[in-house]
Amino acid sequence: MALPQEARVKIVVIMQSLFNVMKKELSQTMRDRRMLSTLIISPVLQLVVFGYAIDLDVDRIPTVVCDQDGTPRSRDLIQAFFADRTFLRHEDVPDPCDAQNALESGNAAAAIIVPRGFALRVARADAPEVQVLVDGTDATRAQVAANAASQFLLVHGIGTETGVESAGTGASLAFRVMYNERLKTPVYMLPGVLATLLLNVTALVTAMGLARERETGTLEQVLVTPIRPSVLLAGKCLPYVLFGLIDILAILLLGNLIFDVPFRGSFLVIALGSFLYLFSTLGIGIFIAAFSSSQQQAMLGAFAFMLPAMLLSGFMSPISSMPPWLRPFTMLIPMRHYIEIMRGCLLKGAGIHDLAQQMIALTALGAGILGISVARFRKRLA
């Protein structure tokens, strides 16, 4: 060892006090069974429930049929319309007004109306028309439904100026879906759910925990002892990194077993990304605690960060759909980078080279937040 004796002793003392604080924090947490279930069981439970809930695959849309034409041709069309199960035949009505009423009352979410004379116009190639109404209240669903309907009608040559087009000439586009071939949503959403749950376990719990010690004044008492403030903070927070890692393992395992989330990348990339992410979320927790004087403030502060962060992380809505002025802000959200790392690694088998940018961003964010908040916390305590 190149270090002088004095420095070595110092390090040993620091490590010892860190270990002691951690031990105290751990036993305190473990003793409270409710707390333990909050940290481990509840995230896993939420993952299972929400993994099933988060199914954006739009299919079986209840649809009203209004066939005014009543010819074999219109019946064939309607049958084909329901063939791929995107739409589900809910009921048949004679009058288009009834179709509208069904949409209004929410009994159906779409309606297909074939007007009189449809078959005749098809036969004459005279621009046959079919009307599809979609309940736009739920925009995502409506967009998918409208798209599916448009595609269907295009394929059947309805509503275009030229009527039935002869197939085979002109340009066409072939599609190939990669990585998530069956287009399952839970596979894509799991990293986002994981990031959210971890944010709760680390940021909210540490923020409120530290605020509580401030409220009761126990933090000041410990500071009278020779333990350094930064060691105290580290000892209080590191156990939550441990809980976070247990959660990650459990969630990835269950995700793989229940929701077929693949594990195509390397374990090392996931471990590294998770460590970096947990440090940044802990930093956020300490940051919030440093700026709040009561648990109520800490709770509201944590939510004031968590809710916008969830929205801007690309968890539920693509970042590319956001307006250009907002997109740079998403770079400041650790969740965004973590979600990209997890999606890339789990689904696409991306390695550390592919994800270098996200890793660097996460490191910088973590170091920045942690640095500022620890400095601020020490100042307020001293």
Partner: protein, 389 residues
């Protein structure tokens, strides 16, 4: 007075006019104390009122479920005017944003893995030649399927654009001349309409249940609950007194979000304000009841918040149908979602705001909300009494 304290909370009410008066006075005192408590913590009030505005702005201006500007890489191996026309047509539509040019289709994998692009257009050599000769000419669109919803929309959009541009008579086939698909109630399919009602539900669920979950746990933690028990205040009086200020705060938030929503995003209010008012009150009460129950059971603020989040906020966010359609859930989860008050509130909000429904259509949902409100508040009172004994 000492004797009454040990009876039911409603004990005061049964003893005639004087008892009712005193009971009301005590409730008012508790409410007054709680109001002072809220106001004293000015920062918390700002956050409670500022958060809905931030959420609304983000949802309204920032977050869009409308999928456009899907990042696209172009691997143009053909390099003819025809192939350029194809990639330009996709980019010009606004549905796709050309983010990267790849030398060949081999680069697609790496571009997908780093997350730079979600689609890659591959135009093979000979595409322009075939098209000029009137032969079938096929380009390929590789789609990153990780995000299933976006992938589906991307394929639909691309099919439409290619169909339109490759039409035999391009002069007549304008892009706007699509098939006859129309959205009702929300003709432009704007997310904002859907969002405003969703934000109201989320914000009320959050602030009402989470803030309420702190109130009683706080008294336990600080030991002031014992002091409160030493006074003649009954359990019902404590609960009602604690409830009123937070219900008031929730109302201010509801009004704030609805007003801002209708001014900033032109969200229409087609239906009756009475229905809106009644259902909002009932939902608030249900959420406050959940929060208070959590507070009574947990006895510590940290655990109470987690508990309230698990039983009220998260289910409202995930199972109310705001973000994820209930129809797609498995049967057992659909059953669980029946027990989420937010589901009924969201239906009434959407009905009143967008469809102009009245009480006649929404009676079932409002009734469900009333049942939840009554049951949850009763649960809070019941648990509270048991804890005392």
């Amino acid at each position: 007075v000492r004797g009454r304290r040990h009876r039911d909370g409603e004990g005061g009410a049964r003893e005639g006019g004087v008892g009712v008066n005193q009971s009301l006075r005590r409730t008012r005192a508790i409410a007054h104390k709680e109001v002072l408590h809220i106001i004293r913590d000015a920062r918390a009030v700002y956050m409670a009122l500022g958060l809905p505005v931030v959420m609304l702005m983000l949802f309204g201006y920032g977050i869009s479920q409308d999928v456009d500007h899907i990042s696209m890489g172009v691997a143009d191996e053909d390099r003819t005017p025809a192939s350029r026309r194809l990639s330009e047509a996709l980019a010009a539509s606004g549905d796709f944003a050309r983010e990267a040019d790849l030398a060949s289709a081999d680069g697609a994998e790496a571009a997908f893995r780093s997350g730079r692009v979600r689609t890659v257009l591959v135009v093979p050599r000979g595409y322009g030649r075939d098209l000029a000769r009137g032969l079938p000419a096929a380009a390929q669109l590789l789609v990153d399927g990780s995000d299933g919803a976006t992938a589906t929309i991307a394929m639909g959009d691309a099919a439409g654009i290619v169909k339109a541009t490759s039409s035999a008579r391009p002069a007549r086939a304008s892009l706007g001349q699509g098939p006859r698909v129309r959205a009702r109630f929300n003709p432009a399919m704007r997310s904002a309409y859907n969002m405003v009602s969703g934000v109201i539900v989320l914000i009320l669920a959050m602030v009402a249940s989470l803030l309420a979950s702190l109130t009683i746990a706080r008294e336990w933690e600080r030991g002031s609950m014992e002091q409160l028990f030493a006074t003649p205040v009954g359990r019902l009086e404590i609960i009602v007194g604690k409830l009123i200020p937070y219900a008031g705060l929730g109302f201010v938030q509801t009004l704030l979000v609805i007003t801002l929503g209708s001014y900033m995003f032109d969200v229409p209010i087609h239906g009756s304000l009475v229905t809106l008012f009644v259902s909002s009150t009932l939902f608030l009460l249900a959420m406050l009841g959940t929060g208070l129950t959590a507070s009574i059971i947990a006895k510590s603020q940290l655990v109470a918040v987690q508990f309230a989040m698990l039983v009220s906020y998260m289910p409202v966010a995930m199972l109310s149908g705001f973000m994820f359609p209930i129809e797609n859930m498995p049967w057992w989860l659909r059953g669980v979602s029946m027990a989420v008050p937010g589901r009924y509130y969201l239906t009434t909000l959407r009905g009143v705001l967008l469809k102009g429904n009245g009480l006649d259509v929404l009676a079932r949902d409002v009734l469900a909300l009333a049942v939840f409100a009554a049951a949850l508040l009763a649960l809070a009172v019941w648990r509270f009494r048991r804890r005392l004994a």
